[in-house]
Symmetry: C2
Subunit: 349 residues, 2 copies
Amino acid sequence: MEEEVATAIGTPNIALVKYWGRRDSALNLPTNSSISMTMDETLCTKTSVAFSKNLPEDIFYLNGEIQDFRHGTEKTMKVKRALDEMRKFAGIRAKAMIVSKNFFPTGGGIASSASGGATLTFALSKALGLNLKAKELSIVARQVSGSASRSVLGGIVKWNRGKKRDGSDSYAEQVFDKSYWPDLIDIVCMISGEKKKVSSSEGHDLAPTSILYKARIPYAEKAVERAITAIRQRDLNALAEIVMRDSNNMHATMLDSWPPIIYMTDLGKEIMAKIHELNAAEGEMVAGYTHDAGPNTQIITIKSNRNKVMSALKEVKGIKDIITVNQGDGPRLLSARDSLITPDLVPKG
Amino acid sequence: MEEEVATAIGTPNIALVKYWGRRDSALNLPTNSSISMTMDETLCTKTSVAFSKNLPEDIFYLNGEIQDFRHGTEKTMKVKRALDEMRKFAGIRAKAMIVSKNFFPTGGGIASSASGGATLTFALSKALGLNLKAKELSIVARQVSGSASRSVLGGIVKWNRGKKRDGSDSYAEQVFDKSYWPDLIDIVCMISGEKKKVSSSEGHDLAPTSILYKARIPYAEKAVERAITAIRQRDLNALAEIVMRDSNNMHATMLDSWPPIIYMTDLGKEIMAKIHELNAAEGEMVAGYTHDAGPNTQIITIKSNRNKVMSALKEVKGIKDIITVNQGDGPRLLSARDSLITPDLVPKG
């Protein structure tokens, strides 16, 4: 195979103010802006890409399973779209082999699609020798998965909703480098690794059925700005409340959708209660919980509060795993020896 | 004891469109109108009242435990208020002994305070030989517990929110007698009989902290009218959806309150999913779930669908008890031999 190849590693992000609901489902254009912290490589996706004239068609392996581009799901169609966008940038027609693997449970409320979409986009651009700006990467990643638009950058990242119909102003920008507030961490509580019943994409499409949803939109937009101020001031007391309230607010609109969507479980609610207890005992917000579109709880805090949080979590029975994550830098290239493309995956021809 | 006595029986109601949030906490004036079905005597409260000049002070036994009027909770203060209102109506000063007993778990999300408040008010009026109109009874009962305003009447009852500051236009009216749609029933799924952590009263006071709550108010007001239309047309398909959506909508604003209030459990959500499955399989809404401010799930349906609902519920493990309830007539007098006032409760003197 005469190839243009790259292998990259990228990571999820945890939204501090969430993306929920879209003004355009095909382009993943959100109803409101959002802000997140990109994770370090404790949880990650690795993706290898090879463009080759010898390939008769595009091939995509995700977590060891081949994905069907011709009769694909919405998600595989969005991967295809990113691939086509990148070919357009490079002015080539060669087919690609993509092999991607998530090093954490897929579809369990940890943003595997954010990690996957950003890493794929980055790997594609590098394989094709494109020197794209973060803005361009973010726009392509956004089309794979909305929250992937944020994972192309490190530290604290804001995804501007944008207003244009073509999405050209809907992309992420770094607000703070990870060195601005390096103490800020995320404690991931794995409650369930099961694939969720209602995908995020289906959920986004149901958002407008909620009567309460219209009241969320201006609130979330303001919450993003308030989160930026809190982070600028390294004010955990303010940030933790913003994070918890936004998470509850989003899940409230989910419950109010028709049919209702419920991602949180009794165990998640027990963790919430523990964090409220801890904050009450400390007399200020020393940690804030947040739930993405899934059952797992994540806790935003600072390094010096980690032990207090871990003690509180010890009283909750049933958490499968607790993983502490720092801020990360976004996707980067790996060496050729890290390639996930093994000879057995390459079609004979 | 020279006495004015009465013993009455009264029942809870299940709100089809809920009361959540108050414009006046002392008078229990609601932010929105609500509508409910008064239950038959399967679940009930019995209350005996005796006014006597020989009593040195008011005495109140609830479920066998004496309540402290002098250092009372908000709830006992509201019982005291009803007592004072009734004395004013009768123009007397005699103290009263009240003995009340709920024949279902208290404080577990079945409207024990509605049943209790309505039965007390009715018993007081009868003991004093007052011939009060339903409107007057409703206004007094409302001051004990908001939803009690609806339990003074039978069948389908609307509580008009009213606009006046003194609450004189905030009372319940019967919309349909129980004979209008006698097939309409309520299947009560007891999930937990535990006393809830956040009382309804505390919850009402937190309602305005929800960002989404302001969007609920006009919705609930319209939902009451839509429920009346659905019942007038005996249209279960329409009614079930109104009931489910309103319940979810209320619990969404609870989750969005600060601090958040969560009454529903995983078991309740499992029942919800089963009802959605059943309705999908039937191609129309044959039942609708609803959650009051507590963990228990109630299912509104018609008699001919009862077996289908029971089959669906059989697949859910962990429900403690299932009780089918018809529409009831509201409070009525019992005979003297049903009195709960036993000689040992009467103070010597």
